[in-house]
């Protein structure tokens, strides 16, 4: 058995040693090379040498998305800039969040994606069709490369209608669908509406980016006659494959050789024991360009305590039950209201009263932003009004890779609808 195959079956003692070694060398590197972390550690009176157990991690302070934005552009790299071979930028209200990759990082990430897909049951025999929104470009990219590395035939999500996608699925005998749960349900709805049969070749759907409830999952499996597996990942942190379901489908196994997971109470910031819901905090263990120490992900979940019947000894988390940082997850894409407001200010030079409406249309979430019309926004001509709306819609789509329809309404109408809420799900 290769080390890659063995790693997930390490003994508890083996894991402790493995993770401790990686944690210590990560801290040695960031202490030497990232002034931000050095300062953070010095302020807390900690040197890398003080970390002798995994539990000592608690002595270190947390980092947040704000820290990432504050240190834009170069200040969080733990390698010389010339070692960075890829750079991703994520939207952030003040500054973009950038994440660099060395070629070793890319290779490691590829390895992790391959592991994730392999555990889901994807093989070199498969024809893998990816149906994800452009806002999930990193997922698309990584899954495409991972599946290609496995030797599968990959059909990336070039812009197509549901109808064309289904046609390709039929004609090219797609065996694995990779999409968000909502898109898979949307496809199912479309098929049922049009009286189409699900492609016979389709045997597996790997669902990523958001959760799916048990009832819808069962419906999907039965109506489409396929198996489903879920995957968890945060692209700003590591990428796809951070968590994956095994054949037992009892929560996500975590890639414990890539990161350490803690669950904390988001209010008191204290660590929570397994079984209690809290915020997932991640410390990367094998990232070179942009290591993260105690990064607060904003995702709410719990650690599962019992050993998994599959025999893997990696830690597991339950489903992501919500978010605690105020960000919304729309079709797998994370949107913060802070950033939305920033965009409104940028486009209209003030912040109008607004309400974001999330609608479900055939299982797909759609966004509608209601703005209270005021003097600054008002334009006498229809064309002018249209232009005003267009401006924001364009900016929003550009930023998040997701459409958002703007609706100008009377202030009273907005107030009656929103009832003081900034977000309405309907």
């Amino acid at each position: 058995m290769s080390l890659e195959d063995r790693i997930e079956y390490l003994s508890p003692e083996g894991w402790r040693q493995w993770q401790l070694e990686l944690l210590q060398s990560t801290l040695n590197r960031v202490y030497q090379r990232v002034p931000f972390y050095r300062k953070l550690m010095e302020e807390n009176g900690i040197k890398p040498e003080d970390i002798g157990e995994l539990e000592d991690l608690k002595k270190l302070p947390f980092t947040t998305r704000e820290h990432l934005a504050q240190n834009y552009p170069y200040d969080l790299f733990a390698v010389p800039l010339r070692d960075i071979v890829r750079l991703h930028a994520f939207p952030g209200p003040k500054a973009p969040i950038v994440k660099g990759f060395t070629s070793r990082d890319l290779k490691a990430l590829r390895g992790l994606t391959c592991r994730f897909l392999t555990h889901c049951g994807v093989t070199s025999e498969d024809i893998v069709q990816i149906c994800l929104d452009p806002g999930m470009s990193i997922w698309i990219e990584e899954i495409k490369e991972g599946a290609e590395t496995l030797g599968a035939l990959v059909i990336p999500p070039d812009p197509q209608s549901a109808q064309d996608r289904l046609r390709i699925m039929h004609d090219f005998r797609t065996s694995v669908l990779i999409s968000t749960p909502s898109y898979a349900l949307h496809l199912l709805h479309y098929m049922q509406k049009e009286g189409l049969l699900p492609p016979k070749s389709l045997r597996l759907a790997v669902l990523v980016g958001e959760e799916i409830d048990g009832q819808n999952r069962l419906r999907l499996e039965q109506a489409m006659n396929l198996n489903t597996r879920l995957g968890y990942g945060i692209t700003e942190v590591i990428g796809p494959g951070m968590g994956y379901e095994c054949e037992e489908k009892q929560g996500y196994h975590l890639a414990a050789d890539y990161f350490l997971a803690e669950i904390i109470d988001p209010k008191t910031l204290r660590p929570l024991p397994p079984g209690q819901i809290g915020e997932l905090v991640v410390t990367t263990l094998s990232i070179k360009a942009n290591p993260l120490i105690r990064f607060r992900t904003g995702d709410l979940t719990q650690l599962l305590d019992s050993p998994c019947p599959c025999g893997r000894t990696t830690p597991r988390i339950g489903p992501i039950v919500g978010r605690c940082d105020g960000r919304l997850s729309i079709r797998g894409i994370k949107i913060s209201l802070d950033y939305l407001e920033e965009l409104l200010r940028e486009v209209y030079h003030h912040l109008p009263a607004y309400c974001l409406r999330i609608k479900r249309h055939h299982y797909l979430e759609e966004l509608e932003l209601w703005l209270a019309i005021n003097e600054q926004l008002f334009e006498p001509s229809i064309l002018g009004l249209h232009r005003i709306m267009e401006k924001f819609q364009h900016r929003f789509n550009e930023t998040f890779g997701l459409p958002c329809r703007l609706k100008l309404v009377e202030k009273e109408h907005l107030d009656a609808f929103a009832q003081g809420q900034k977000v309405i799900v309907s």
Binding site: L3, L20, S25, N28, E49, V79
Partner: protein, 244 residues
């Protein structure tokens, strides 16, 4: 098989090893690379009990050995081929090998020791040809073979080698590396210290990079071979320290 946790070693006031954690699993070849003065030899000496740590654990086959005397550690099954091929110059090749099995005399039958000696001769036919020659008159490469042979005669479970390729011609380096690989394939676990990082990474399964007494990187050898820092500092021509 070997598990080191939070090891600190100093010479007087000079801290040499800082919070070292490292492990070697059974049947693995693990290499330790690092610049001059990084603390590689000190780490091997600490494992052998030749230098005492200030803090930390060294666990060999579930047994704490950090405060054991060296002979006991040897008896448990750890053997070191030190840097600079330390052999007994006035003795013959065969006498040197016999000395390697010194601590086994009480427990192991003569035939077994004899068979091991034959095995060494099989690994290094050159030594067989020169079995009666005084060790001090051997060439550098032959002395290194003898040093490895002698360590093998202790029948270790874990063999540690400190820069076995130092000062050897490329052809001899090949021979030494091949032998290490062969010993590993027979089941011997190996911890290899090398400045010749490329050669070490070629035969090892995993590696650690030690710098000024700290582990700054580790990974499978394929990962380390593509690692930019390793390439710059240890595989390229112009040497540059990780911390620079």
């Amino acid at each position: 098989m070997l598990r080191i946790k939070n090891l600190h070693t100093s010479y007087g006031a000079v801290k040499v090893l800082r919070n070292i954690s490292l492990h070697v699993a059974e049947r693995e070849i693990v290499c330790l690379i690092g610049a001059n003065g990084a603390g590689k030899t000190t780490l091997l000496f600490t494992i052998m009990g030749l230098v005492h740590p200030n803090a930390g654990q060294i666990i060999f086959q579930e047994q704490e050995i950090s405060n054991m005397p060296t002979p006991e550690i040897v008896c448990l099954g750890i053997s070191l081929v030190p840097e600079g091929r330390q052999i007994f110059y006035p003795l013959t090749v065969e006498e040197n090998l016999e000395l390697g099995a010194y601590h086994r005399r009480k427990n192991d039958p003569k035939e077994k020791i004899q068979a091991d000696m034959e095995h060494v001769y099989q690994l290094f036919p050159r030594l067989k040809e020169r079995r009666g020659q005084i060790a001090g008159t051997l060439s550098g490469g032959e002395q290194q073979m003898l040093a490895i042979g002698r360590a093998f005669m202790a029948r270790p479970k874990l063999l540690m080698l400190d820069e076995p390729s130092l000062g050897l011609a490329p052809r001899l380096v090949d021979k030494i590396m091949d032998t290490i690989l062969a010993l590993n394939q027979e089941g011997l676990t190996i911890l290899l210290v090398e400045q010749n990082a490329r050669r070490a990474l070629e035969i090892a399964h995993r590696g650690y990079v030690l710098e000024t007494g700290r582990i700054v990187l580790q990974g499978h050898t394929q990962e380390l071979l593509t690692d930019e820092d390793v390439r710059r500092a240890y595989l390229g021509r112009d040497y540059q320290k990780f911390t620079d």
